[in-house]
Subunit: 674 residues, 2 copies
């Protein structure tokens, strides 16, 4: 059951397509302090808190402060409070069980047992918001109800479930061709190559650098011939430049966010001084979305929207303020204070909240302070593109995912987990974020495999890919200046080939489960606690996840480990695929098991009386035979069925078939007549 509670008068977010009637009674269980803008709930000792989408720390979020405030923060340290997204949905599970969603575009702080261990305090910037309380028999039922309310999750084309190779550093056609050639020559499967900001002319959106990419349409077509899609980046900000049509037209039509005087707001990002499309305005969204056409017309079928928190390095005013302060400080007697002041001044300026205070949106003739809707920006940029694609690509799905997001955007695109690092702890963080994001409607998601910043090691990349083969977005991405981390840079090519190929072997199951999760508003990745709610051990397990109906995954996420402990809440069958072709299948009873897993081994667990459809693989998604699948099975005495979803992988309607496969007593798996 969902109850809506209205406080003040919210700025519309368009997150909830059909809003339930608002109740009159107070929000049960919470002390609401209108003066403090806070909601407080006393936590039971055993209460666990799930949700909040993209964030640091555990699956159980208890014991820290989090802030919904979209931030360009590449340092995903344990004490970070905000990453790129703002996902205001959580579930309390324990003495009571309910979900809570805050429909609100401004800053929200969640003190989840930080100040006091037994207190949850949610504080909003101003008291104009809708709160939804969702009750249900189980966490899964609560999440399901919530997901039904917020609408169906984004569905990408099937090829977007293939492996993608990316690096901020592919600067010309030759770089792209080399990546593809290397993969094809070495038998490393590949479906896409990503283009980071260097493909543009001076970082201007919807332009192509003619020196380095003289014929992008030609390149796209050439790559398509090899089963590879090019996926260019689109940044949020538009370079301010006379003669650049996007800048000119936007200024002429008043399509950019303004300052308080109504003049276009100017902030610096990669292209230098830039303008920010006022994507909260439907007319602007329509315009901005239409701009993607130039790339679609070149044969591009996928995009990643970046820097849309929006990230702003500085404004002329903020830079001038530093300059003045620096002048003063540099001129002063040099001492320790000067030194720390100098270092402090610089640190202060980046992504200053004050900059956001000076930006205005204009929706339906009303000016809205950016600060009050900050978290909606990436959502609406992505929505602009998605809505345009409905016309520009009427009959087919376009790949689209975004760095910043809030709930609502899940209908329009996926999200990646932002600029992580090549750290083992970020591999584990990637893992733990998956169910939290699924709860909030984000199914098409994944992290930069191998890590974006910092230098990867061969074993970290291998282990990370062993998780990545299970995540819908599977992309190896790294930053300029870091160690090159394409699989072919390392020694164990057989190992990498094996791991990447396993993705394609598993694709029938992964795609089928993704589609059912999207169409039926279910979670793809679930903490064990959600599937085995009475199992206390399952409740604390944060390094294993249920994946779809049949699988449990438990990748190795520790350096130098050749195996790991796995907790089985029920009997399961372990599959281990080794690079030399050996496949181990062993039934393990409920309880704790040490499972060996050499560096390039792929392991997963099949639930009893479950099946998964698999293929013989391929070097790209187009080569995978989704129509003639075979099955990995674990018959355990009861009827074992699998509902297999399949479609053409590209039609927008996603009107596929669901075929019921049943395992007979003879061990044969057969499709039941429809």
């Amino acid at each position: 059951m969902i109850q809506r509670y209205v406080y003040g008068s919210m700025i519309e977010t368009d997150t909830i397509p059909v809003k339930p009637e608002a109740g009159k009674e107070p929000l049960p269980g919470f002390t609401v302090d209108e003066k403090e803008h806070s909601f407080t709930y006393l936590l039971g000792k055993e209460d666990r808190i799930y949700g909040l989408g993209e964030n640091v720390r555990g699956i159980n979020k208890r014991g820290w402060i989090y802030q919904s405030w979209a931030s360009d923060n590449p340092d995903h340290l344990e004490d970070a409070v905000s990453l790129y997204a703002a996902h205001n949905f959580l579930v309390v599970d324990g003495e009571e069980r309910f979900g809570l969603f805050l429909d609100y575009g401004g800053k929200v702080t969640y003190d989840i047992g930080y100040t006091e261990m037994n207190r949850l305090t949610i504080r909003v910037n101003d008291f104009n918001l809708d709160v939804y309380r969702i009750s249900g028999d189980s966490v899964l039922s609560i999440v399901h109800q919530f997901r039904e309310m917020i609408g169906r999750s984004y569905i990408p084309p099937r090829w977007a479930f293939g492996f993608g190779q990316s690096r901020w550093g592919y600067v010309c056609e030759a770089d792209v061709r080399q990546v593809v050639r290397k993969h094809r020559e070495l038998g490393l499967p590949l479906d896409s190559v990503y283009l980071d900001i260097d493909y543009m002319d001076s970082y201007k959106d919807f332009t192509v650098n003619q020196e380095r990419f003289p014929d992008l349409a030609g390149l796209a077509s050439e790559m398509a011939g090899q089963g590879v899609h090019l996926v260019p980046i689109i940044d949020a900000a538009i370079k301010k430049e006379e003669g650049y049509p996007v800048s000119d037209e936007g200024i002429r039509k008043g399509y950019f966010c303004t300052d308080k005087d109504g003049k276009p707001f100017e902030g610096a990002v990669w292209p230098g001084i830039s303008l920010f499309p006022d994507v909260l305005n439907p007319e602007v969204r329509k315009w901005f979305g239409s701009l993607y056409k130039v790339l679609l017309d070149m044969g591009i079928e996928g995009f990643w929207n970046d820097m849309n928190e929006p990230s702003i390095f500085y404004t002329e005013a903020s830079l001038e303020a530093i300059r003045t302060r620096l002048m003063d400080t540099v001129g002063a007697t040099p001492d320790v204070n000067t030194f720390f002041e100098l270092t402090g001044i610089i640190r202060e300026v980046f992504q200053k909240d004050e900059i956001y205070d000076s930006i205005y949106h204009h929706v339906n003739g009303k000016a809205i302070r950016h600060t009050d809707v900050h978290n909606l920006y990436g959502y609406n940029m992505t929505r602009a593109a998605a809505e345009a694609f409905e016309t520009l690509a009427k009959d087919r799905r376009i790949l689209l995912f975004s760095r910043s997001s809030c709930i609502g955007m899940h209908r329009f695109g996926g999200t990646w987990m932002g600029d992580n690092k090549s750290w083992w702890s970020h591999l584990a963080l990637n893992f733990r974020m998956l169910p939290s994001l699924n709860m909030c409607g984000f199914l098409y998601t994944g992290a930069d495999l191998g890590g974006f910043g910092s230098d990867v090691t061969e074993d970290l990349l291998m282990r990370w890919l062993e998780l990545g083969i299970f995540t819908p977005l599977m992309r190896n991405h790294s930053a300029l200046g870091t160690r090159e981390q394409e699989a072919y840079r390392f020694s164990d090519l057989d190992g990498f080939r094996h791991v990447l190929r396993m993705r394609y072997v598993l694709l029938p199951y992964l795609y089928s489960e993704y589609m059912k999760a999207a169409l039926d508003n279910k979670m793809l990745f679930r903490p064990l606690a959600f599937d085995y709610p009475e199992d206390h051990r399952a409740q604390e397990t944060e390094d294993q996840l249920m994946l779809g109906d049949s699988l449990m995954i438990a990748p190795v996420m520790q350096q130098n480990a050749r195996g790991r402990m796995v907790y089985l809440p029920e009997s399961m069958k372990l599959f281990r695929f080794s690079k030399d072709g050996r496949v181990l299948e062993t039934v393990l009873g409920p309880g704790d098991h040490y499972v060996e897993c050499e560096l390039s081994d792929v392991i997963f667990f099949l639930r009893p009386d479950h099946l998964i459809p698999v293929s013989f693989g391929g070097s790209c998604v187009a080569e995978v035979d989704f129509d003639h699948v075979h099955f990995l099975t674990y018959p355990a005495g009861n009827e074992a069925c699998y509902e297999y979803y399949t479609d053409d992988g590209i039609s927008r309607q996603a009107a596929g078939m669901r075929i019921l496969y049943r395992m007979g007593e003879d061990g044969e798996v057969k499709a039941l007549p429809q």
Copy 2:
């Protein structure tokens, strides 16, 4: 067996008291490249690399680059290469088994399977060093031989095994009194309060701020009456100030490091422009050590030496260089490049290696570039104090530990693990560093419990103390500006009281084991791999440690966990002490076990046929009865004995008794006649 290999002509480090004859044959197993200054060894697939003392990442160091280069680096991130210390001892265990020690004061880089997974490359700055290769039947034998060669580890007074409370932020006598009063009133045991830099007058070593600490001697005496010792900080650098006797005398006598022209080198630290005692020179060491007398005379019995990498914020020249660059940049057209240049300029200056290049030491009339002996600085500062104490405190031990160190310093003082953060990952790092430091001779060690930087949570502090009760140095320390983290700031006082008291219950065992480890050149904390070398599971276990002869520890180091998996290489008895007085004793068989451990529970494991002596506790070490111990036992069919070391806890000679206790068939434990 130890073999010494001489390359070029090393600058003496005084690390090895008696050097074995140098061999003529080449270093076996290594390719030595004199031009590249490198030693390369091909790693077997299963080889594990242990050692390197204070460093980030795992107990098995394979899969990263490390650098011996003492650095003031509070960000102990996964990709850090250097922390505060430089410990050039490692053991290769696998296809071959040997230890390697580089007797060298300059920069060393260890590429341990980073560039190539199967290659260990050690690179030194210049090719003047001695290398020691130690072979043996077991890792423990190799470590033992190495420890015998480098000499007996530092032994602190017994009271230094009590709990210490610290914070950068206790600025006056009232602050100290409050900490002590709170602990005593609430029944929280306490043995020491640490004084950070604010007790000094303008951060001048060996001075006391007369306004805030008008009578330090009186305060020390008052605190002593309550069983509490004051432990002031001593920083490496001496404020340059006319009229400050230390500065004046040092300049007059030429006791400071110089620049290339022989003038005292000036660099800025907390006191502003400062001078750096040339502690590599024996005459300067004698002088610097003698300065501690003023505090000893006030009744001070312990010190922590800080900022002795040495940390240098800037020099006038480096600050001027920034100022000039800033002026230029600030004056330039403001654009994205300017912005990144501004942020970059500031980041560059802190702890610049170039600063070290401009410093000179003078030993035996010879000028030595600081860069060539950088890692020896903290060692020699601490040695200066320790050597002086031999005269100034002839009959008693003085507590002394240091932030920076290299091997050699282990004879003169302990070390803490530097400025960590209130992160769960740093609790685990604290744990993993223990055996690595023990290998290098550092027995008196521990981390800032609860974390120095960042904000702690109540549960993190509790769990961290549950590890801290086992570490010789047990100190809660936090930084200015972070959340206050004395135990009494939080809600579960019963829990904190229980955990702290457990330290005192365990003290007879912990002190006895510490002393035997020091006197017999053994490790106190050992990876399971060292005690169970044939056990493959033990080889990968990095979250459990052997502690002394009888115990295995396995603290909970994950937030929101109410227990953890524990691997037992043999049958052990689990002890669990709960805050309500319940004690669980259960024998568990070899293999994997899930062990419950509520937030304030203390757990440990006793080996079969082993005993540990315990006490009834006390509110400070002086109240613990070391003469009438009782025993926790796990009789398992064979003779169970314990060799108990005890002494007066203060005499320098450490000429204690070793009493053999044996458990009889009746279950009684009795001392055998001597």
